[in-house]
C-alpha cells in the first residue's frame, strides 16, 4: 500500500506540473494582460504613459516570454508564495482564496450532506419497491428534475419565493447591516439566504445519486449471494441493508472521491445568479481580468483536489472491497 501511494503521488506531481504548464501557456495566449485589462476601465486622462506601462510590465515580469515566466511562477509557488493579484491591487492570491472559500464550502458541504442523507434512503426504498406506483412516480419526478438545468430552476425559485411569496431574499449571502446582528439573527439571516442556492445545488445530484444507488442495488439483488442470504433465513431488511447495500458502496465511494474538487470549485452560474461571493465567481472574474496569478492559484488548487480525490477514491475502494489490494 505504501509503495502504491508513493508511486501515485509521484505520478500526481508530474501531472500537476503538466497541467499548470499547459494552463499557463493557454492563459498567456489570451489577448490582453492584467495591465491592459485594467486600463480599459480607467479615465483616459489618467492613462499610464508608455514608459510607466513598460516599467510595470518589467516589475510584474510580464516582459519575459511565457515559458520563462512559468518557471518564475513555479519557483515562487514551490517556496509557498502563490503571488499577488494585479487587478485586485496586489492582494495576495492566498488571501483572496481564503476569503472566498467559506462561502462556497457552506453551499457545497451542506448540499453534499443533504444529497447523501436523502439519496441513500431514497435509492434503497426505490430499489425495494420497484413495481409500486409511488416508486415509479418518484423516479419519473427525479428524472425530470435531473434534466432541468439548475439555472432555470434558480430563476423560477427566485420568482416564486421572492417575487410572489416574498418569503426569502432574492440573492446575496447577508442582508444589509448584518454587522450589527446578534449571533442568532446572523445565523437566521444566513440560513434564509442559503436555502435557494442549496436547493439548486442539491436537487440535481440528489436525482443522480438516488438513481445511481437504485440501479446498482437492482444489479446487486440479482446476485447469487443474495439468494444465499435469503436461503439462510435473513430478514428482508437485513438482506437489503447488510448484504446488498454494502456491495453498492463500492461504486458509491468512487463517486465520492470524484466530488472532492467540486466542493471548492463552486458553481459559476449559480453563484452568478445568487450573487454569492464564492470561488466560482472568483475564477470567472479572474479570467475576465486576465488575473494570471489568481487563475494559476485556483487552477493549482483544483488540480491538487482532483488528484487527491481520485487517490482518495482508490484508497476507499480498497477499504470497502476486500478483493482490491494495491502493491
Amino acid at each position: 500500500m505504501t509503495s502504491y501511494l508513493l508511486r501515485r503521488t509521484a505520478i500526481g506531481l508530474l501531472t500537476l506540473l503538466l497541467i499548470t504548464f499547459l494552463i499557463y501557456g493557454l492563459i498567456r495566449a489570451m489577448p490582453g494582460t492584467p495591465l491592459t485589462g485594467d486600463m480599459a476601465n480607467l479615465d483616459p486622462s489618467k492613462q499610464l504613459s508608455e514608459e510607466a506601462l513598460e516599467r510595470r510590465r518589467v516589475q510584474y515580469g510580464l516582459d519575459k516570454p511565457w515559458y520563462q515566466a512559468y518557471f518564475v511562477w513555479l519557483g515562487n509557488t514551490l517556496s509557498g508564495d502563490l503571488g499577488k493579484s494585479i487587478p485586485q491591487n496586489d492582494k495576495p492570491v492566498a488571501t483572496l482564496i481564503a476569503e472566498r472559500a467559506p462561502a462556497t464550502l457552506l453551499l457545497s458541504v451542506t448540499s453534499l450532506i443533504l444529497t447523501y442523507l436523502l439519496s441513500i434512503p431514497l435509492g434503497l426504498w426505490s430499489s425495494t419497491h420497484s413495481d409500486s406506483v409511488a416508486e415509479r412516480t418518484t423516479s419519473t419526478l427525479l428524472y425530470m428534475l435531473y434534466s432541468l438545468p439548475s439555472f432555470v430552476a434558480a430563476l423560477y425559485l427566485q420568482l416564486l419565493f421572492y417575487v410572489k411569496l416574498d418569503w426569502l431574499p432574492l440573492y446575496g449571502m447577508h442582508s444589509d447591516g448584518y454587522e450589527q446582528f446578534t449571533a442568532a439573527e446572523y445565523a437566521w439571516d444566513l440560513l434564509k439566504h442559503s436555502i435557494l442556492p442549496v436547493i439548486c445545488f442539491t436537487y440535481g445530484s440528489l436525482a443522480y445519486y438516488s438513481r445511481f444507488i437504485r440501479a446498482n442495488m437492482q444489479e446487486v439483488v440479482r446476485q447469487d449471494f443474495i439468494r444465499t442470504a435469503k436461503a439462510k433465513g435473513v430478514p428482508p431488511g437485513r438482506v437489503v441493508w447488510h448484504h446488498a447495500f454494502r456491495n453498492t458502496l463500492i461504486p458509491l465511494v468512487t463517486l465520492m472521491g470524484l466530488t472532492l474538487p467540486g466542493l471548492l470549485s463552486g458553481a459559476v452560474i449559480l453563484e452568478q445568479i445568487f450573487v454569492w461571493p464564492g470561488m466560482g465567481r472568483l475564477y470567472f472574474e479572474a479570467i475576465g481580468q486576465r488575473d494570471y496569478e489568481t487563475i494559476m492559484g485556483l487552477t493549482l488548487m483544483f488540480s491538487v483536489l482532483t488528484l487527491l480525490g481520485q487517490l482518495l477514491a482508490d484508497v476507499l475502494y480498497a477499504v470497502v472491497d476486500p478483493r482490491v489490494t494495491y502493491h
Partner: protein, 631 residues
C-alpha cells in the same frame, strides 16, 4: 461426533413429503408450467436425486420447497410437508424461521454464492446467530468446528478469509458448512458439483455422503448428470419438461430404465469404457410430438427402440483413432504394438509433417511488487510444453482448473503472447508473424470457447455473427453470397436457416454453442481449438454437440485440440491425450493407452474421480448404505 450430530433426533415419517406439486410461471407470453405434478418423499438419512436437463423444472421444485420463487411464480396446487408441517402458504416470517434451520440449500455456483465483501466466517456465523441463541464467540467456535468437519484446512485462520481468497472447492465447502450450521433435517443441493473439477467433485460427494450418514439428514440432490446421481442417491426422480417421468430406487433406474427419456440420458453419457464412436442421444430413444388439446398444447412422447443396427452404426460410424507415426509412438514410450489393439486405430504415415508443432512453449505471467513495480516472481501458467498434432487428428488436453490447459490453447493462437518457445503451424512460425500474416493465419486456426452465452454479441443477429469473420477474411463475393453461406452453415450444424435473423437470447445453450461452431467453420479453418466447449452444457445436449464436432471433423478433415477437465469427454473425443498439471504435460500418449495404463499418480487420480455409473459400483454403494442403516 459433534454435539449437533447427537442432537439429530429421530424423525417419524418422511422428512419431506411433496404431493402433486404444480408451480407455474405467469409471464407476458402466457403460463409456463415449470413444475407440473411432482410428488416424492424423502426419509431421514436418505438421498433423492432429481435428474433432468435445464428447464425441466428441477430447480423450481427445490425453490418451491424453500419458498424462494420469483414473484412471477406461483404454487397452484399441491402440498409440501416438511416434518409434518405444510409449507405452502405459510406466512413469510414463519418461513424465514425454517429456511436455514430445518431446510437449507447449497447452489451450483460457489464463486458467486458467497457475498464478496464479508469474510466466510462471518457469513456462516450469521446463519448460526439468526436461528440459535448463541453469543458471537460461541458462533465463531461452532463455525470453526464446522469448517473442520467439512475439511477446510487451518479452519482457525480460514474463518477470517474473504471468498476471493479461496478456491472454488473450498468455497463450496464453506457453503456446505453454512447449510449444516443449524443442523437441518433436509439439505437441498442444487447442482453443487457442476461448476467444479472432477477431483473436487469427488471430494464433495464423498463428504456429503459422510455428513448425511453421520447426521441422518435427508438430501435432495439435483443434477443433470446421472453419473453423479449414481454416486450419491438412494432414489432417483427423472424430470422432463416439468413432469416426473420416472421414479425408483437408484439401482432399478440404472439397471432397468423404463421411460425412453431415462434410457436416453443413461446412454448419452460418454463413459470411460464406452466403445462408441458416436454417442447415442435422447432422440435415439424417443420422439416428441406436440398435441393440441382443449387444455392447450401438450407434449406427447413416442418411444423408439435403439435397435442393434443403430447401435452397430454408432459403434462403427466415424473414423478410428488416428495415432502418431509409429516411430514417434515408440519414442514417447507407447509402441504401436501395444497401441494397435485399439479399435480401428491407424497410425499417421511416416514422414507426414505435423499440422501444428509446439516446442517448449512457456507462458509466464509476471508478479509485480514494490515502488517501481519490479517483477519479483512469475506465475508459470504454461511451463515448457511440447507436442505435435497431425492433420485430421484430435489431441485432448486434460487437467484440473489452473493446470494451464486454457492458457496453452490461447498461447498457440497468440491470444496470449507466449513468453518463449516455438509454435509452428502449417510450416509457419506463428510467433514470428506480423499483424497481417497473423490475421490471415487465424482464418485457419479457430477457437470455440466454453461459455456460449458470453461468446455471442447479444446485439448482433446470428447472420452478422456468422458473416463477420467472413468479411474480415474476405470470404464470399458479397452480402447475398455470405448470407447463403451462413444459411448453409446453420444447416450443417443442424439448425434452421430461418434463425439467421434472430438474436442470441432466443436460443438455448446448446443451440448457441452450435452457432459458435458454425461461426468458427465459416472461415473454413483447418484447425480448431475447443476450449471446454461442452462443459457448460447438459449431458444430453453435450452428446449432440460432441457428435456434431466429430461429424464435422470427418466431413471437413478438421484437426482439433480438445481441452476439457472431464476425462471421459476427452477420451471419447481424442486420439492422443496430454495430461497437464501445473503448467507441464505429465503424461502423453494414445487416449486408450493412457486410460488403460496410466503411468502417473495424477492421471490415476483423474480417472478414479470420474463419476462411475457402473452397475457393480452402484450395487456396492447400495449394499454399503443398507448395512449402515441396519447396523
Amino acid at each position: 461426533m459433534s454435539q449437533a450430530v447427537k442432537d439429530a433426533a429421530v424423525v417419524d415419517g418422511p422428512v419431506v413429503d411433496v404431493a402433486n406439486l404444480h408451480t407455474h410461471f405467469h409471464t407476458d407470453e402466457g403460463v409456463v408450467k415449470a413444475v407440473d405434478g411432482v410428488s416424492f418423499r424423502i426419509e431421514q438419512g436418505h438421498t433423492l436425486g432429481i435428474v433432468g436437463e435445464s428447464g425441466s423444472g428441477k430447480s423450481v421444485t427445490s425453490l418451491s420447497i424453500m419458498q424462494l420463487l420469483a414473484s412471477s411464480a406461483k404454487i397452484e396446487t399441491g402440498t409440501i410437508s416438511l416434518l409434518g408441517k405444510d409449507l405452502v402458504g405459510l406466512p413469510e416470517p414463519q418461513m424465514r424461521g425454517i429456511r436455514g434451520k430445518d431446510v437449507s440449500m447449497i447452489f451450483q455456483e460457489p464463486m458467486t454464492s458467497l457475498n464478496p465483501v464479508f469474510t466466510v466466517g462471518a457469513q456462516v456465523m450469521e446463519a448460526i446467530i439468526l436461528h440459535q441463541e448463541v453469543s458471537k464467540a460461541e458462533a465463531r467456535e461452532r463455525t470453526i468446528a464446522l469448517f473442520k468437519e467439512v475439511g477446510i484446512p487451518e479452519p482457525e485462520q480460514r474463518v477470517d478469509s474473504y471468498p476471493h481468497q479461496m478456491s472454488g472447492g473450498q468455497k463450496q465447502r464453506v457453503m456446505i458448512a453454512m447449510a449444516l450450521s443449524c443442523n437441518p433435517k433436509l439439505l437441498i443441493a442444487d447442482e453443487p458439483t457442476t461448476a467444479l473439477d472432477v477431483t473436487i467433485q469427488k471430494q464433495i460427494l464423498d463428504m456429503l455422503r459422510k455428513l448425511r450418514d453421520e447426521r441422518g439428514m435427508a438430501i435432495l440432490f439435483i443434477t443433470h448428470d446421472l453419473g453423479v446421481i449414481a454416486e450419491i442417491a438412494d432414489e432417483v426422480l427423472v424430470m422432463f419438461r416439468g413432469e416426473m417421468v420416472e421414479q425408483g430406487p437408484v439401482l432399478d433406474i440404472f439397471e432397468n430404465p423404463k421411460h425412453p427419456y431415462t434410457k436416453g440420458l443413461l446412454a448419452c453419457r460418454p463413459r470411460l469404457d464406452t466403445p462408441y464412436r458416436l454417442l447415442p442421444t435422447v432422440s435415439d430413444f424417443m420422439d416428441i410430438k406436440v398435441v393440441e388439446s382443449p387444455q392447450g398444447q401438450r407434449i406427447e412422447v413416442i418411444e423408439k427402440e435403439l435397435d442393434a443396427a443403430r447401435l452397430n452404426q454408432l459403434k462403427t460410424q466415424g473414423r478410428g483413432r488416428l495415432l502418431h507415426p509409429k516411430s514417434q509412438l515408440a519414442e514417447i514410450g507407447h509402441p504401436w504394438e501395444e497401441a494397435n489393439h485399439l479399435p480401428d486405430a491407424t497410425a499417421v504415415e511416416e514422414g507426414t509433417k505435423p499440422l501444428l508443432s509446439v516446442r517448449d512453449l512457456k507462458v509466464h505471467f509476471p508478479v509485480r511488487r514494490g515502488l517501481l513495480a519490479r517483477v519479483v516472481d512469475h506465475v508459470k501458467a504454461v511451463d515448457g510444453v511440447s507436442f505435435d498434432v497431425y492433420p485430421g487428428q484430435t489431441l485432448g488436453l486434460v487437467g484440473e482448473s489452473g493446470c494451464g490447459k486454457t492458457t496453452c490453447g490461447r498461447a498457440i493462437l497468440r491470444l496470449v503472447e507466449p513468453t518463449s518457445g516455438k509454435v509452428t503451424f502449417d510450416g509457419k512460425d506463428v510467433r514470428a508473424l506480423g499483424r497481417t500474416d497473423l490475421r490471415e493465419i487465424r482464418s485457419q486456426m479457430q477457437i470455440i470457447f466454453q461459455d456460449p452465452y458470453g461468446s455471442l454479441n447479444p446485439r448482433m443477429t446470428i447472420e452478422s455473427a456468422i458473416t463477420e469473420p467472413m468479411v474480415i477474411q474476405g470470404i464470399g463475393s458479397g452480402k447475398k453470397d455470405r448470407r447463403d453461406r451462413a444459411a448453409a452453415l446453420l444447416e450443417e450444424v443442424d439448425l434452421s436457416s430461418a434463425f439467421l435473423r434472430r438474436y442470441p437470447h432466443e436460443f438455448s445453450g446448446g443451440q448457441r454453442q452450435r452457432i459458435c461452431i458454425a461461426r468458427s467453420i465459416a472461415v473454413e479453418p483447418e484447425f480448431i481449438i475447443c476450449d471446454e466447449s461442452v462443459s457448460a452444457l447438459d449431458v444430453s445436449v453435450q452428446a449432440q454437440v460432441l457428435n456434431l464436432l466429430k461429424r464435422l471433423q470427418e466431413q471437413r478433415g478438421l484437426t482439433y485440440i480438445f481441452i476439457s477437465h472431464d476425462l471421459s469427454v476427452v477420451k471419447f473425443m481424442a486420439d492422443m491425450m496430454a495430461v497437464m498439471n501445473q503448467g507441464k504435460i505429465v503424461e502423453f500418449g494414445p487416449s486408450e493407452a493412457i486410460y488403460e495404463h496410466p503411468r502417473e499418480d495424477y492421471t490415476r487420480r483423474l480417472i478414479s474421480a470420474t463419476p462411475n455409473d457402473d452397475l457393480e459400483h452402484i450395487r456396492k454403494l447400495v449394499a454399503q448404505r443398507k448395512q449402515l442403516r441396519t447396523g
